[in-house]
């Protein structure tokens, strides 16, 4: 029951990637990146339940925290124009 949900979320990730490439301004691309990070974390937890491997869930936790730092730094770059 977990694998169809993971495939469905992968389709959602592809739809969000289109916005990431098309976005007319910089904040549009950043919103797409933030949405994509959340869906990727959920997909990692679902895959961990599907294959009975806890290491996928650990990868999801570390990805969530690191992508948070990345989003904050890119937002600061967009705000000021420099780091």
């Amino acid at each position: 029951m977990w694998l169809p949900a993971a495939i469905f979320l992968a389709v959602c990730i592809l739809i969000v990637l289109v916005r990431l490439f098309l976005g007319p301004t910089q904040p549009d691309r950043l919103v797409g990146l933030d949405t994509l990070n959340t869906i990727v974390v959920v997909t990692m937890v679902i895959l961990g339940a599907a294959f009975e491997e806890v290491i996928y869930v650990d990868v999801g936790i570390v990805y969530a925290l690191l992508s948070f730092v990345t989003t904050l730094f890119i937002a600061k770059y967009i705000e000021k124009g420099k780091f």
Binding site: R19, A64, A75
Partner: protein, 119 residues
């Protein structure tokens, strides 16, 4: 049996909300409304999907006894949920503030109170 029904319902609603977030990113006109779609919908969908994983692994944990390997999956899934719940609103706030200060105006906006607060 009833736990399986609850799990399938949670998976269905969670997948629906994630799809609505992906479609809303294409339908809305400016970064602020896209932020509205892309952050709230994925947070709610994440709560339901990880809740489904937790329900299923807790039922397996109870069935297999106290020393089951499902306990680690349950606790780590809950930690991932807490990480999402802490980081998602904070990053959306940072994106909104950065978008307004970088000069992107809301589309079809009538009142912009933050413009008068600018130092």
């Amino acid at each position: 049996m009833i736990l399986n029904t609850i799990t399938y319902t949670c998976i269905g609603i969670g997948c629906f909300f994630n799809l609505m977030a992906a479609i809303g990113l294409h339908r809305f006109p400016d970064p602020y409304t896209r932020l509205h779609a892309g952050t709230k919908c994925t947070t709610f969908g994440s709560i339901l999907l990880i809740g489904a994983v937790v329900i299923q692994s807790i039922s397996t944990w109870v069935a297999e006894g106290i020393s089951s390997s499902q306990s680690i999956l349950t606790l780590h899934a809950l930690i991932a949920l807490v990480a999402i719940l802490l980081t998602n609103p904070t990053s959306s706030h940072a994106i909104g503030r950065a978008a307004h200060r970088s000069g992107v105006k809301p589309a079809r906006a009538v009142v912009d109170d933050l413009e008068k607060e600018k130092p």
